[in-house]
Every structure is written in structure tokens, then in C-alpha cells.
């Protein structure tokens, strides 16, 4: 953690951080910290622990489904498991891990000292941790069993009187507040604390997606907060917002839930898109293709994402006009998403693609997420959706979108930024093993689930009769899930090992484009002693070029670039 650098073999652009007091160690330094990097690391570690918990729940479900009429789990346990799994993965893993990356990286990428409101930032993290604790404490009592959607009236006191649903409501409130506070913080940071010269047209694409993520959170979260509060008062204080027999409406719950729930999908995948937009150009040694189009597509996806929620409700009693509106809206989203896809592929086109683990995960993202996008079109065609909705086809689709679109990107991000965060490289060998296990395991698990749905298997059933090919398909899926789990474990081993024995990374191991690589790895507590003037969307390329110009084309040792040259 020493904030100085030794003389290096090559002229690497960096600034020596002087006179920095040594950071305090020990657990109190973590609990009391307001440093965005420490908070970021806590986010990443905590959310990954939840990822492993959610994954374990998934494996238990897959074990139960591996055979027809299996009696391994009873229906109550099974319902609790899929509720815990969905809720954990969405509220405690994908959304907050993106906040973790954002926390660690946004200030570094825009050349800032910290987030705009460091104490608020710490509050964000501790609210998230509290949400997780409250929710997981319910496993000692009675976990919720209404799915992550907790549809009324099943979630009402009449049908689920135990405290599980209340724990779930509490989790939504706590993690929601955490995200809201975090989103305001991100917005303020990105709007106000960019390095000199970093106009909106030079903002790294990952930061663009975090900005959009924040706006979506600010727009969507108050709606779910209101909805779960109404559910809470229905359950305990005698209101009837969602009770049909008393003039309320169960469909109101679905509308409110999905008004939040669909933007939530983009909240989860847009930062993933951002990670991909950072990783691909670096390992293709080419600028991103169509920077403006990708940034604009991000914003357009977010806007359209707010207008398509009822495509989750095509089978409900709704007028044809509504069905058509939401079908066409969902179609429209495919356009900016397709634009991004083409731009990413064009970024590699005529580049020199280096197959590092981060690039592999990014390529896995492209190939996998594409399938999720295409099956999304099937589901947007509402008459087709009538056959597919609430079956395993949807389970397959949503995992292709969320694992393909978010988890692959998260792993690309882990392999890409681990050297910056820890100062050490992850093992490429283990990384590649992990990648292939995850890729193969994922597709074996989920591709066949499309067929399960088409063969008539609804979601959220704890057992099925051995008709059609259901048992064979389910067994294949279960085998795949264990391959996938093995792949994830290899990365866990890789991380735990490399933190201690990984090769020292140096400030810029990838020769990357953005400012976080300008400082040491790991960065000192103040991030930068001097912040360079940003002249393009790839400031590190400019700086490297400038250093090479000034030092000659040298492989000889050279001092860090003088300040005057950097501040221009």
C-alpha cells in the first residue's frame, strides 16, 4: 500500500504521490472509512459473497429438479429458495456490485479525489449491508416464498402471514435507500468533479453508463418504495390497495412493480455494457468504434426502458391497445441495443485482439447476451409471449440477459481492474479455465431451458411429472449448473490466491486508455497528486505518447513525467 513507485524499466507515465501519511490498517479502518476505494472494495467483496449465496440456492433448486417427482426439497423450501435466489441476485448482487465498480472507478476515471459526498457514500454501503442482514436473518424464522416479484394477493397477510414478506419489504427499502443515496452521489460526482478538459464528449463510456444507471435508479426506486409501503400497510394496517374484494387491485401491484422492475433490468445491464466498452478497445488496441453512438444508445435504452414495463404482463386482462403499445416499445429497444452490439464488434474489427481473460469474458458477453436479446424479441411479440411467459423459456431468457449481460461483464471487470485494485495480477491460466467452465456451464444449463419452456414446463414449480423430455432436459440443465459453479469457484480461488502471490502489476499493466491507470496500483488515498488536462476520450494514450516524445523512444529508465508537461 506504499504510495510511492520505484524506478521502472520503461518510461511509464505516472506521478509520485508524496507526503501521504500511511493509511491505518485493521478492521476499524474499514468500518470507519469514507474512502471511495475502500468502500468500493467492501461493496465488491460483500456483493460477491451474496453472489455465492444466491448461487448455492440455485444449485439446491437444480438438484431438486434433476429428477422428475423428486422429493429432496419440500414445496415450501423450494419456494423460499427461488425467492431468496432472485432477490439476492438482483438486490444484493448485480445492482450493488455495479455500484461497487462505480464507487471504486468513477472518481479514478474522471480524475477526482473521491466521491462528491464521501460520508453519504459510506452510508450507502452500510444500508446495503443492513438490507442483506435483515433479509438473510429471515432464514432463521420464515423466509418469504412469493418469488422476487411478490405478486399481490399471494403476498398479502391472508396467504403469507409469516414475517418473510415483511423481511423482503424491509430489504427493498434498505437496499433501495442505499441505491438512491448512491445514485445521487454518482450523479453529483460525475456532473461536478471531472478532470479539466473532460467534457461530456470525453467521459469514459463506463462513467456514461454509471451516470445513466444513477438516473434510472432515481426514477425507478421511489415507485417500488411506494409499492412495498402500500403492501406493508395492506398487510398490517388494514388498507386495501391490492385487495380486489375491497376495491383494491392486484394488477396495480403488477404495474407498480414492473414500472420499477423493467428499468431495473437496464440498471443491471447498462453498467455491464460500460465495462465491455472499456475492455474491448484496450484488448483490441483500437479506439472504441462510434463513441457517440454508444453513449447515445445508452441514454436511449434507458429512456425506452422506462416505457415497456407492461410487456411482463401480456397475459393479464389488458386491452389490445396496451398490448400493442408495449410490444412496439419493446421492439424499439432492440434498435439501440443492436447499435451497441455492432459497434462492439466493429471495435474489434481490424484490431489486434489479445486474448486475455478480460477480453474472453467480454467476447463471451457479446455471444451470450446476443441470444438473450434475440429471445427478448420472441417475448415482445405478445401472442408468442402468451405461450412463452411464465415458463422456463423466460427463465432461460432472463439468465441469458442477466448472466450474459451483467455477470460476464462483471467477470471481465474483475479480471480487468483487479490489478488496479490490488496491485497484483490475477493468474491468466486459472482465469482462462474459469472462463471456459463458466461459458460451457452456462450454455449447458440455460440453452436447454428454452426447450423446457416450449415443452410445457412453467417456472417456479418444485416438481414435475416425467412427461415429454422434461426429465432429460432438466438433468442436462442441472449438470450444466455444476460446471458453471465450478467455473465461478476457480475465479474465487484465483482471487484469493492472487491477492497474496499474484505478479506485481505496476500502474498500467494493460496499456489502457482511461485515467485510473495513471496512478499507482493500488492508488494512494488521494488518488492523484496532479490531475492531467484531458484532451480526448483516451487520456492515457495521449499521456503515453507525450512521455515517449519527451523521453525519446526509450526502453531506458526514465523519471516520471514532469508536472508541467502534464498540466499543460
Amino acid at each position: 500500500m506504499a504510495a510511492t513507485t520505484e524506478t521502472l524499466a520503461r518510461p511509464l507515465p505516472q506521478v509520485v504521490a508524496r507526503d501521504v501519511t500511511r493509511e491505518r490498517g485493521g478492521w476499524t479502518s474499514w468500518v470507519t472509512t469514507t474512502d471511495h476505494k475502500k468502500i468500493g472494495i467492501m461493496y465488491l467483496v460483500l456483493t460477491f459473497v451474496f453472489f455465492l449465496l444466491g448461487g448455492t440456492e440455485a444449485l439446491m433448486m437444480r438438484l431438486q429438479l434433476s429428477q422428475a417427482n423428486n422429493t429432496l426439497l419440500d414445496p415450501q423450501t423450494y419456494n423460499e429458495l427461488f425467492t431468496m435466489h432472485g432477490t439476492t441476485m438482483i438486490f444484493l448482487f448485480v445492482v450493488p456490485i455495479m455500484a461497487g465498480f462505480g464507487n471504486y472507478l468513477v472518481p479514478l476515471m474522471i480524475g477526482a479525489r473521491d466521491m462528491a459526498f464521501p460520508k453519504l457514500n459510506a452510508l450507502s454501503f452500510w444500508l446495503l449491508a443492513a438490507g442483506g442482514v435483515v433479509f438473510y436473518a429471515s432464514i432463521f424464522f420464515s423466509p418469504p416464498e412469493c418469488g422476487w416479484t411478490c405478486y399481490a394477493p399471494l403476498s398479502s397477510k391472508d396467504y403469507l402471514p409469516s414475517g418473510g414478506v415483511d423481511a423482503w419489504i424491509y430489504l427493498i427499502h434498505l437496499t433501495g435507500l442505499s441505491s438512491l443515496v448512491g445514485a445521487v452521489n454518482f450523479y453529483a460526482t460525475i456532473a461536478n468533479m471531472r478532470a479539466p478538459g473532460m467534457g461530456w464528449g470525453r467521459l469514459p463510456l463506463f462513467v456514461w453508463t454509471i451516470l445513466t444507471y444513477s438516473v434510472l435508479l432515481i426514477l425507478a426506486l421511489p415507485v417500488i418504495a411506494g409499492a412495498v409501503t402500500m403492501l406493508l400497510t395492506d398487510r398490517h394496517f388494514g388498507t386495501h390497495f391490492f385487495e380486489a374484494s375491497a376495491g383494491g387491485s392486484p394488477l396495480l401491484w403488477q404495474h407498480l412493480f414492473w414500472f420499477f422492475g423493467h428499468p431495473e433490468v437496464y440498471i443491471m445491464v447498462l453498467p455491464g455494457f460500460g465495462i465491455i466498452s472499456e475492455v474491448l478497445p484496450v484488448f483490441s488496441r483500437k479506439p472504441i468504434f462510434g463513441y457517440k453512438a454508444i453513449a447515445a444508445a445508452t441514454v436511449v435504452i434507458a429512456f425506452l426502458g422506462l416505457l415497456v414495463w407492461a410487456h411482463h404482463m401480456f397475459a393479464t386482462p389488458s386491452p389490445t391497445f396496451v398490448l400493442i403499445f408495449f410490444m412496439l416499445g419493446s421492439f424499439l429497444i432492440a434498435v439501440p441495443t443492436g447499435v451497441k452490439m455492432f459497434n462492439w464488434i466493429a471495435t474489434m474489427w481490424r484490431g489486434t485482439v489479445e486474448f486475455r481473460t478480460a477480453l474472453l469474458f467480454a467476447a463471451g458477453f457479446l455471444g451470450t447476451f446476443l441470444i438473450g436479446g434475440i429471445t427478448g424479441i420472441f417475448l415482445a411479440v405478445f401472442p408468442v409471449d402468451w405461450q412463452l411467459t411464465d415458463t422456463y423459456f423466460v427463465v432461460a431468457h432472463l439468465h441469458y440477459v442477466l448472466v450474459g449481460g451483467a455477470v460476464f461483464a462483471i467477470f471481465a471487470g474483475i479480471y480487468y481492474w483487479f490489478p488496479k485494485i490490488t496491485g497484483r495480477m490475477l493468474s491468466e491460466g486459472l482465469g482462462k479455465v474459469s472462463f471456459w467452465l463458466i461459458l460451457i456451464g452456462f450454455h449447458v444449463t440455460f440453452l436447454i431451458q428454452h426447450s423446457l419452456g416450449l415443452d410445457g414446463m412453467p417456472r417456479r414449480i418444485y416438481e414435475y411429472a416425467d412427461v415429454g423430455h422434461l426429465e432429460l432436459y432438466n438433468l442436462i440443465s442441472t449438470i450444466g449448473s455444476f460446471i458453471l459453479a465450478a467455473g465461478i469457484l476457480v475465479t474465487v480461488v484465483n482471487v484469493v490466491r492472487s491477492v497474496r502471490v499474484g505478479v506485481i502489476a505496476g500502474p498500467d499493466p494493460w496499456k489502457a486508455n482511461t485515467l485510473e491507470w495513471f496512478t499507482t496500483s493500488p492508488p494512494p488515498v488521494n488518488n492523484f497528486d496532479v490531475v492531467p488536462r484531458v484532451r480526448s476520450v483516451e487520456p492515457m494514450k495521449d499521456i503515453r505518447r507525450q512521455v515517449e516524445r519527451q523521453t525519446g523512444h526509450a526502453a531506458a529508465p526514465a523519471p516520471p513525467a514532469p508536472e508541467s508537461a502534464l498540466q499543460a
Binding site: S245, P287, A315, L332, V353, L370
Partner: protein
């Protein structure tokens, strides 16, 4: 740059061979899949025209999807293999190409317009019930209340209207008997019996939590939501008399959701008439027996 292509020629030929082999394998896979089309890569159908129309709409979307899939994955794999880093290779510093980008934006939009047009062309046949066939059950005029914005009737206004009621964890079916009093109607649980070649309209309701009505071969899902009525229809062809179509609740409705099954038994119109009168007689007898039982209990009471 110039000497590299020469050195790489064999590799390129190899990769082309690999690409061809992959295409052939995919073709074979599709051919095999064709045999087991329904239930593996297309939804089930065959019991009713709307299910058939949905399946054919699905296959059209699938055809477009396969083209898009092969095109984009092809471009992805081509870029990954063709442009992998080699000694001496230099990455072209291209930042974008506005014309190209506009072209693929429009391209994506055109594909979606095509899909929308296909969907609209099929929509009528999926949503609107046809008249019953000549061999169907003879239905009296005005069996039904008038159609509304979401309730659709065949052009001649006649359909066999069955009320479907979802409850934890069973489906109840109430059959029409021509009068407005539903309390004396024939009803059944779990198995619905319907005449073939007859347009059957369903009024789907729920009495506790939300459920979803789904018999895959007879069309899509329609949610049963408390406080609302949902509508759908099916018409089983005459040749399928004697067949049973199975399905199950598709909306998570509680612990026993997995066992909330339903089946529809298609019978000839004559058999349907017999079924209804037998049910009515059974229900009447059961009611009478219950009356006697109650009287006995009341008179022997304390």
C-alpha cells in the same frame, strides 16, 4: 503487413474450412430439430387454430432470429479469429463510420418493422374466435352476454361459454345451461369436457390469488386475477374427439402451484350433451342427499 497474409494463407483456408464445417453441423442440427420441432424449439400446437397461428408466428420470428443470430455471431467469431493479435499486426485506428452506423441502425429498425407487420397480419386469427363448425354443438342464439372491448365472440355471436375459476390449487369449470342463473349449472373440477368443432369461449377468474390458465396445445396463457375477468377461446377440430389436452397453472400461486393441473377432454357434441345431463343429474342427486342428511341431523339434534 504485406508478408503476413502470405504466411497466413493456410491458416485462413483452415478457418474457412472450420467455418464451413460449423455451418454444415448447424444445418444438420436444424434438420434433426425439425423432426422434434414442437416442444423443443417451437411451442406446442395442434389443438386449436389460435395455438396453430401462434406456433406459425413463432416460427416466422424464429426464422428471422436465426438469420440475425448467424449473422452477428458470425461477425463476432470472424473478428475474434481474423483479427487476433499476431506479430507485426497493427491495429487500424478507426474511430467510427457514421454512414455505416446509420445503415445498421436502419437495418435493425427494418427487421423490427417486418416483425411487427407479420404479427399484425396474424393477430386477427389469434384473437378473434371463428364460428363453430357444422358438426359442432348446436348453440342457441344469445347464450352469451354481448361482447365487450376485451371479450370477443365469433361473427355469428354464438359460442359455448365456460367459466373458468382458479383457486388454490384446482380449476373449476362452470358450463352454460341457457339461463342466467349460474347456481344450478353443471360444473366440474380439474377436467373440462368440451364438444369438438365448437367454438369455446372462456371467462377466466380467480377467487383467491392470481393463477394463469394454460393448455399449451389450445393456445396461450391467460392470467386469472382476482377482481378481473380474462377471456380467451379455442376450437378443437372434429377429428380430435376423444383426445385429452393437458396443462397446468402458470402463475406462482403458493406451495402447491406445481400440482395445479388442468385437462381438457374433447368429445363429440352428443357425448358432451350426455356429460352435461349426467353432471346435472349427479349434482341434483347429491343436493337431494345433502338435504335429507341435513334434515336428519337437524331433527336428531339436541
Amino acid at each position: 503487413m504485406n508478408r503476413i497474409p502470405a504466411a497466413l494463407k493456410p491458416t485462413r483456408r483452415n478457418s474457412r474450412r472450420v467455418a464451413l464445417a460449423t455451418l454444415a453441423a448447424l444445418g444438420l442440427l436444424l434438420a434433426f430439430a425439425g423432426a422434434a420441432f414442437a416442444g423443443a424449439i417451437a411451442p406446442e400446437s395442434g389443438g386449436s387454430p389460435n395455438a396453430d397461428q401462434i406456433a406459425s408466428l413463432y416460427k416466422l420470428v424464429l426464422a428471422v432470429a436465426v438469420v440475425v443470430f448467424l449473422g452477428v455471431e458470425g461477425a463476432l467469431f470472424y473478428s475474434l479469429f481474423k483479427f487476433r493479435a499476431r506479430k507485426g499486426a497493427v491495429a487500424a485506428q478507426i474511430r467510427g463510420n457514421t454512414r455505416l452506423e446509420i445503415a445498421w441502425t436502419l437495418g435493425a429498425a427494418v427487421i423490427l418493422v417486418v416483425l411487427a407487420v407479420i404479427t399484425f397480419s396474424k393477430l386477427g386469427a389469434i384473437r378473434n374466435p371463428p364460428n363453430s363448425g357444422p358438426n359442432g354443438a348446436q348453440l342457441a342464439d344469445g347464450v352469451l352476454v354481448a361482447s365487450g372491448p376485451s371479450k370477443r365472440l365469433p361473427p355469428n355471436g354464438r359460442s359455448l361459454n365456460i367459466q373458468v375459476n382458479g383457486q388454490q390449487y384446482i380449476w373449476r369449470f362452470t358450463y352454460p345451461d341457457g339461463d342466467t342463473n349460474d347456481l344450478n349449472n353443471a360444473f366440474s373440477y380439474q377436467e373440462m369436457v368440451v364438444p369438438v368443432d365448437t367454438t369455446v369461449t372462456l371467462e377466466i377468474r380467480a377467487q383467491d390469488v392470481a393463477h394463469s390458465w394454460w393448455i399449451p396445445k389450445l393456445g396461450g396463457k391467460f392470467d386469472a386475477v382476482p377482481g378481473y375477468t380474462n377471456y380467451t377461446w379455442f376450437k378443437i377440430p372434429g377429428r380430435l374427439a376423444g383426445k385429452v389436452f393437458t396443462g397446468q397453472c402458470a402463475e406462482m400461486c403458493g406451495r402447491n402451484h406445481a400440482n395445479m393441473t388442468a385437462q381438457v377432454r374433447a368429445v363429440t357434441p352428443q357425448a358432451y350433451e350426455q356429460f352435461i345431463s349426467r353432471r346435472k343429474a349427479d349434482i341434483k342427486a347429491a343436493d337431494a342427499a345433502a338435504q335429507i342428511q341435513r334434515k336428519r341431523l337437524e331433527s336428531s339434534g339436541p
